[in-house]
C-alpha cells in the first residue's frame, strides 16, 4: 500500500542549528500514526515543514505517491492536509459554526449563507458522532477544553481533508475529555483519513495509534507497528534513540 503522505530525506536548519537530519516519515490512510519524541526532538518542526509553514532545505514530500511542493499553508490545505494546533486556533467570541467556517465562509451574493453553513457543520459533527455540544450556535467561550478540541478537529474534517495532523490534542485535558478526544481521533482514521497524532502521553499513543514514529534529536529513530513494540521499548527509543535492534545504529 502506498502511504498517503510520505516524506523522505528531510533536512532542516535554522541558521547554524540543524534541527532535522535526513528524516523519513509516512502516514497511511485509515491509520493513526503517532509521532513521539522528547522536547526538542523536532516533532513540531517536522509537522510545520509538512504544513508548509517552514520551507525544507532538502528532501521530498510525496502525497499519494506523487512528489509535491508545499510552499505555504495554502498549498498544504489545497492538498488536503490540515493541522490542528496545540494552542487551539479558535475565536472565543464566535460560535461553533462561525469558527468552523472561519476564513472560508459560504456566501450567497455578499451575504453569508448562515443556514447552509449551519447544516453542513451539523452534518460534520453528526458524522463524527459528536454528542457533547448542546447547540452548534453556542459561543466557543462557553465550551470545555475537550469540546473546543472537538470543534477544532471537526473544523479540520469539514474541508474534506485527507491528512489531519493533531499537535498534542490532549495536553490540557482531563481524563474523561481525553477519552472523548481519543475516540474522535480513532473515528477519523476509521473514516479513511490519515491521522498523525503528536503526543507525549504513552497511554494515549498505545490507546489509539496503529503505528509509532519516534524522533530522537532530529533523526527518525524508528517507525514501527504499535502492536510490535512494548511501552518500555518506545520510551527507550524516545530517550536514547535505540532499543535492542531497533533505532539508530551508531
Amino acid at each position: 500500500m502506498t502511504p498517503l503522505l510520505e516524506v523522505r530525506g528531510i533536512d532542516k536548519s535554522f541558521g547554524p542549528v540543524q534541527v532535522l537530519h535526513d528524516v523519513a516519515f509516512s502516514a497511511n490512510a485509515g491509520e493513526v500514526t503517532a509521532l513521539v519524541g522528547d522536547n526538542g526532538a523536532g516533532k513540531s518542526t517536522l509537522v510545520k515543514c509538512i504544513g508548509g509553514i517552514y520551507p525544507i532545505d532538502s528532501g521530498e514530500i510525496l502525497f499519494d505517491g506523487k512528489p509535491v511542493h508545499v510552499h505555504g499553508p495554502r498549498d498544504a490545505a489545497a492538498l488536503g492536509i490540515e493541522i490542528v494546533y496545540q494552542d487551539l486556533a479558535l475565536c472565543d467570541n464566535l460560535d461553533i459554526v462561525q469558527n468552523m467556517f472561519l476564513g472560508r465562509e459560504r456566501r450567497r451574493g455578499i451575504m453569508l449563507d448562515e443556514a447552509a453553513m449551519e447544516e453542513q457543520a451539523q452534518e460534520t459533527l453528526t458524522g463524527l458522532s459528536v454528542r457533547t455540544v448542546k447547540s452548534i450556535r453556542q459561543q466557543v467561550s462557553s465550551l470545555s477544553g475537550g469540546q473546543r478540541q472537538t470543534v477544532a478537529i471537526a473544523k479540520a474534517v469539514l474541508w474534506n481533508s485527507k491528512v489531519v495532523i493533531l499537535d498534542e490534542p490532549t495536553a490540557a485535558l482531563g481524563v474523561a475529555q481525553t477519552a472523548q478526544v481519543l475516540e474522535l481521533v480513532r473515528r477519523l482514521a476509521d473514516k479513511g483519513l490519515a491521522v498523525v497524532l503528536i503526543s507525549h502521553n504513552m497511554n494515549d499513543v498505545f490507546a489509539v495509534s496503529d503505528r509509532i514514529a519516534a524522533l530522537y534529536l532530529g533523526r527518525m529513530a524508528a517507525q514501527v507497528r504499535t502492536a510490535d513494540v512494548t511501552h518500555a521499548q518506545v520510551v527507550e527509543l524516545i530517550t536514547s534513540g535505540r532499543s535492542g535492534d531497533l533505532g539508530i545504529t551508531q
Binding site: 467570541n93 472561519l102 451575504m111 459528536v130
Partner: protein, 420 residues
Amino acid sequence: MNKVKELPGDAIAAAKTSPSIGLSVRAYAERVRGGDMGALPAVLGLIVLCTVFAVARPAFLTAINFANLFTQGAAITVIAMGLVFVLLVGEIDLSAGFASGVCAAVLAVTLTSLGLPWYVCVLAAIVTGVVIGVTLGGLVAKVGIPSFVVTLAAFLAFQGLVLVLVREGTNISIRDDVIVAIATRNLPPWLGWALFAVCVAVYAGIQLLRARKRTTRGLVADPMSLIAARVGALVVIGGLAVYVLNLERSRNPLLTSLTGVPIVVPIILALLVLWTFVLHRTAFGRHIYAVGGNPEAARRAGIPVDRIKVAAFVICSSMAAVGGIIAASRASSVDPNTGGSSVLLYAVGAAVIGGTSLFGGKGRVLDAILGGAVVAVIENGMGLMGYGASVKYLVTGSVLLLAAGVDAIARKRASAAGLR
C-alpha cells in the same frame, strides 16, 4: 464536502426543535449572570437617568426637550458608531473627535471659500475621513505602532490642521440650506409615520422570512412569540417616539410651527441598518469579530488581519466625517473647537457604555446608539438641572469609568464562569 450520514447525534437532533420563549429568556439570564451583559447596563442606566431627571425637572419630559436630545446626541452617536469598529478589532482611535473637526472644516472651506455645491463638499469631507483612516490604519497595522500612540499623535496634529483650515481661529458660518437642514430641520409628520410603518414592516418581514426559511430547512428558529415580542417592542418604542416628535413643540405655534422627526434620526437609522448588515451578514463583518477575538486564529484561518484593521480605521474616520458634518450643521458653523473638547471622550464613552468591549471582539453598532442616548441624556438633564460644565464633565467621566469597570469585571466573571 463531507456528506457522511450515520449515527445521528441525539443531542443535536434534540436541539432541532424550536426553543420556547421561556427557554430563550432563561438562556439570556444565564448569559447575563455569566458576565455577558451586553446592552443591559445602558438600558437600565437610561431608565434610571430618565426617571431621575423627569422627577427633578418636569421640563425634561417635554416634546421640545425630547427632540433636542436627538440633535444634541447625533454627532457623538455617529462618531461612536464608527469607533465600535476600531474597538471591535481591539484598537482605539483617540483622534476621531478632531478627525470629525478636520472633515467639518474641509466641508466648510469647500462650501464657502470655493463655493462648491453641497454634495461635492460632503463627498470631500468623507473622502478626507477615508484618507485619515487609511493613514492611521496603515501606521497601526502595517508599521506596527500601537494605535494609542498613533491616534494620540493624530489627536494633536488634527487640532493644528483644523486651525490651519479655518485660518487660525476664525469662525466659518455655513449657510447652505441642505447642510443646515440635516441637524436643524424636521420631517413632515406624515413622513415620520410612513417611515415608521416601513421600518416595522421591513423588520417584521425579515424576522418572519428568516424564521420560516430556517424551519423549512430543519434548523433551530426563533419562536414566533419571541419575534412578536421584538416587533411589539419596536412598535411601542418607535410609535411613542414618532408620536411625541410629531407634537407641536414651538413656543409660539401661531408664528411658527415646529413638529416632526428631526432629519438626523432617519440618517442615524440608515447608518445603523447599513453597519449592522455589514457586521452580521457579511464575511467582512465576521472577520472583524474574528480579528478582535483571536488575531492569531484569524491569521491561521487565512484572514488578512492587517487589511481588516485598516478597514476598521477607515470606517471609523469616515463615520467621524459624517459626525463632523452633523456637528457643523447643528452649529451652522465650523470653528477650531468643532470636534474638540469632550467630543471624543463622549463618543468613546457612548460606545463603551452601550456594551462594546475595550478588549475587542464584542460589541454592536446598536450599542453606540444606546450609549449615545445615555451620554445625551446626562448632558441634557444636567443642563436642565442648572449644573455647569464642571459637574457635567465629572459625571460623564464617572459614567465612562463605571462602564469600563463593568466591562472589565464582566470579562473577569466570564473567565471565572469558564465562559472565556
